[in-house]
């Protein structure tokens, strides 16, 4: 069965990792997200920007992974930012109260600018 999630991972500078996700983040794909993020962290990322512009579906499985990554990075002085979520996914953050936990950016440029400060 095809797993409908594509992940592009890259570093922006030495300390910011960017995960661009496309497709669905659910119980079947959440571990791919965690593994890709952990590779960036192992490669030196202190903060992560997670671009959700192309994510059509996400549930508590995805939120749980993001919460775990945030805990890990905040402890080390970093953070996790959410970039360009589609309206339904953005509403998911609001419904779960996590819009008060994660910074949510309209575009990657603004997120990178703040991450570089």
């Amino acid at each position: 069965m095809e797993i409908p999630l594509r992940i592009e991972a890259r570093m922006e500078g030495e300390k910011v990792g960017v995960l661009s996700l496309s497709g669905e983040i659910d119980i079947a794909t959440k571990d791919q997200v965690r593994e890709a993020a952990e590779k960036l962290i192992a490669g030196g990322a202190r903060s992560l920007l997670v671009d959700l512009a192309e994510v059509e579906y996400m549930d508590s499985s995805g939120l749980g992974v993001l919460k775990g990554l945030r805990s890990q990075l905040v402890e080390a002085g970093g953070k996790v930012g959410i970039v360009s979520p589609q309206s339904y996914v953005k509403k998911l953050f609001e419904r779960s109260g996590l819009d008060q936990v994660f910074p949510i950016y309209d575009d990657l440029g603004a997120a990178l600018e703040e991450a570089g400060r």
């Binding site: 797993i3 659910d26 119980i27 079947a28 508590s60 939120l63 339904y88 998911l92 109260g97």
Partner: protein, 131 residues
């Protein structure tokens, strides 16, 4: 789909992560067929996904045991029951509780029944406004 009497539709999936998506897809198709607005279709899909995810992650017992998703189509509402036949899970088993919070935010009513012999049943209701 006219429904003066309730119509029952059932789907059984293995209690494995990759099959939760199948339940979601079927839910979308049925909710659209029942002429729920697009936002409500996505809400119902999300709720069924969360209930099935709970069953996969928290029900105890062999993974090849089934999850039963039962759709009860009534004239004024859609009732969905997600039943696992493992040893069940209760609200306190549901990790950080995000799944339940989300289910309750998108459905009109959510209740969980569980027991050591019968497994768990998440029963959710969405009103069919305008029908």
């Amino acid at each position: 789909m006219s429904a003066t009497a309730a119509t029952n539709i059932e789907l059984r999936i293995p209690r494995q992560p990759e099959f939760v998506r199948i339940a979601r897809w079927m839910t979308c198709g049925l909710a659209a067929r029942l002429q729920f607005p697009l936002g409500a279709v996505k809400d119902i899909e999300l709720a069924v996904g969360e209930a099935c995810t709970n069953a996969v992650e928290h029900a105890k017992g062999p993974q090849d045991e089934a999850i039963l998703i039962r759709f009860i189509v009534e004239s004024r509402r859609l009732v969905i029951e997600v039943i696992d036949y493992g040893q069940g899970f209760c609200e306190e088993d549901e990790g950080d509780g995000l799944g339940l919070v989300i289910m309750r935010s998108v459905m009109d009513h959510v209740e969980i029944c569980c027991g050591p012999d019968t497994g768990a049943c998440v029963r959710m209701v969405k009103q069919r406004d305008g029908s």
